[in-house]
């Protein structure tokens, strides 16, 4: 297992924010973490990528305890574990040009200045041109900023990409572009993707495995399709109902009808 947690507990203050967590992520897998705000999703991924510390129990990356990684080999650990957040505007310094923000991780973690050619390659990965380099964050759209945040995370060739509500601040149409980009990059680069969302529709669509969290605990986990077809907990059922209340009957209209027929044959 690439990422593992056993009996993981964490608290910011008196109350436990995370309790008794068990989790394992295989290399190159896609894990979706779903739950309402306040359920502890962000805390969990921040712990797993080493942005916060102080958990009790075990959390391992590549067989080694994350606390130990951070103590002995923090840079190496951070190169392997990158994260993008919901609000890209807040993770990019508003006073810095995009070029400066974009090159930060390589400068900090690899102690070198990337070439323009490299930078252009990162931008090409996320479908942007070098015209954005001289801009400031406020001059770009939410979708563009999220692409830049992704390019920045990928600049150090990570093994695991954590995405914490990466599309919650975006329109449905921009969201589709960013989700496609993430699926694409994952395949092309063999990334392990851990994707957090409060929206079951997104996790259900994007991930192979999923975890349902409530009040800091995992209420259900398993292969996404199993969980969605046959939810074991009432809470998962509530989330499924909430997502279905705002679903569309089919996605992609005509094309999707064909897709349904195909899957109908395949499963029957």
């Amino acid at each position: 297992m690439l990422v593992e947690a056993h009996d993981l507990w964490f608290r910011y203050g008196k109350e436990w924010t995370l309790a008794e967590l068990e989790l394992s992520v295989e290399s190159s897998a896609t894990l979706g973490i779903v739950g309402e705000s306040g359920s502890g999703k962000s805390t969990l991924v921040r712990l797993l990528c080493g942005l916060i510390t102080g958990a009790s129990g075990t959390a391992r990356y590549d067989g080694r305890d994350i606390t130990e990684w951070l103590r002995r080999d923090a840079k190496q650990f951070r190169r392997h574990n990158q994260i993008v957040f919901q609000n890209p505007a807040s993770s990019l310094d508003p006073r810095m040009r995009i070029r400066t923000s974009l090159t930060e991780p390589v400068k900090a973690l690899e102690r070198r200045v990337p070439t323009l050619q490299e930078i252009e390659q990162w931008l090409a990965l996320v479908g942007l041109g070098s015209d954005v380099l001289a801009r400031y964050p406020h001059q770009l759209s939410g979708g563009q900023l999220q692409r830049i945040a992704i390019a920045r995370a990928l600049s150090v060739n990570p093994t695991v990409l954590y995405a914490d509500e990466p599309t919650s601040a975006l329109d449905v149409s921009v969201q589709a572009q960013v989700l496609n980009l993430l699926m694409n990059l994952r395949q092309r680069l063999g990334l392990t993707l851990v994707m957090v969302s409060h929206d079951l529709a997104i996790v259900g669509r994007m991930s192979e495995q999923m975890i349902v969290m409530k009040s800091g605990r995992i209420v259900e986990s398993g292969p996404t399709l199993n969980v969605m077809h046959n939810p074991q907990s009432d809470y998962t059922r509530t989330l499924i109902e909430a997502a279905q209340a705002v679903s569309l009957p089919t996605t992609g209209v005509y094309e999707n009808r064909l897709a349904n027929t195909r899957s109908g044959h395949a499963t029957s």
């Binding site: 449905v172 149409s173 589709a176 409060h198 192979e208 077809h229 109902e241 997502a243 569309l248 089919t250």
Partner: protein
């Protein structure tokens, strides 16, 4: 209730809203849908008589027998105050952070009715129970930051319905909320609209949300009405390529079977971005992003009328719809 005819709203050289015809009958719910920058907010604001001062309107907007186009600010405010309530996406910004909840609702009540203090207090608690805020006596003493996002949105709804409006305008009211809270708030809006015979003009970028709430939908792009009709018809049988594209971009799925077919697969995203207001192509404004554009699309597509109030303006509409028409004939 609300009727729009040949409405054009211009700011400077740019026409930012253009709607030939749109109706919202009393007590019914209409969704305005499109990406950001497609003109939903501008349209809703114009219909509410809240267009910015520099906007020039022509055409006609009739609200409950009153023509709004050409009215002065004061007259507009009078019509609005009596007929219309408005709620926005970000409840925290719409509430005063330093004032207790009870006082804020009370001020909304006071604007519309001349009541004694005791009567007003009664009314505030009653409004809070209408929007299903539990323990209202305790909540009135709280400040906005002490409430959850869903509670704050309920407070705003309570304030918006204080005047007993016949039309409620809601601009992306649940975008910032969890899906479970969203479901409750959407349910509340539908219930209030039904119980009070209050029409709802509902703005969202998410067709799934519009489907859940509204009976009618108007799809906007580049400030223009591109397709409109009963929500079921438009979502099941869209004709305009932009509507089709919006549906394809939605990650939602109605059933587990749908999900099995699409899990891990790419969404049909709409390429490119909504241009800025001065950069839309001539002719069909969606032309530079449309996978089905033909030579004719360099002209303005005329609105076509189908059965059942379904209208669209597209030169190369979806095949699904054609197939449906055949179905219809066969049946």
């Amino acid at each position: 209730m609300l009727g729009v005819r040949d409405l054009s709203v211009r700011i400077g050289r740019h026409e930012i809203v253009s709607i030939d015809e749109l109706d919202l009958p009393a007590g019914r719910r209409l969704g305005l849908v499109g990406e950001s920058g497609s003109g939903k907010t501008m349209t809703a604001m114009s219909l509410a008589g809240l267009a910015p001062a520099e906007a020039r309107q022509c055409g006609s907007i009739v609200l409950d027998g009153h023509e709004l186009v050409g009215l002065g600010d004061k007259q507009l405010a009078r019509v609005r105050g009596a007929q219309m309530g408005v709620i926005f996406q970000d409840p925290l910004r719409a509430l005063n952070p330093t004032m207790r909840i009870g006082r804020q609702i009370d001020e909304a009540v006071r604007l519309h009715a001349n009541l004694s203090r005791a009567e007003r207090r009664e009314r505030v608690l009653e409004l809070m129970s209408h929007v299903q805020l539990s323990e209202p006596e305790r909540l009135v003493r709280r400040y906005p930051h002490q409430l959850s996002g869903g509670q704050r949105q309920r407070v705003l709804i309570a304030m918006a319905i204080a005047s007993g409006p016949r039309l409620l305008i809601a601009d992306e009211p649940t975008t910032a909320l969890d899906v479970t809270v969203q479901k409750e708030i959407l349910g509340l809006l539908v219930r209030l609209s039904e119980e009070r015979q209050m029409a709802l003009l509902f703005v969202s970028h998410d067709l799934g949300v519009v489907r859940a709430v509204c009976e009618y939908v108007a799809v906007l792009y580049g400030g223009r009405l591109v397709e409109t009709g009963p929500v079921r018809t438009v979502i099941h049988r869209p004709r305009h390529r932009y509507t089709e594209a919006l549906i394809g971009a939605n990650p939602g799925h109605a059933s587990a079977d749908d999900l099995a077919a699409v899990n891990g697969r790419q969404l049909t995203a709409i390429p490119g971005v909504v241009p800025s207001i001065d950069a839309f192509p001539i002719g069909c404004r969606f032309r530079d992003r449309c996978a089905h554009a033909v030579a004719a699309c360099a002209d303005d597509p005329p609105m076509e009328r189908l059965a059942g109030e379904h209208r669209f303006a597209c030169f190369n509409p979806t095949i699904a719809a054609k197939e449906w028409e055949l179905d219809g004939n066969a049946r």
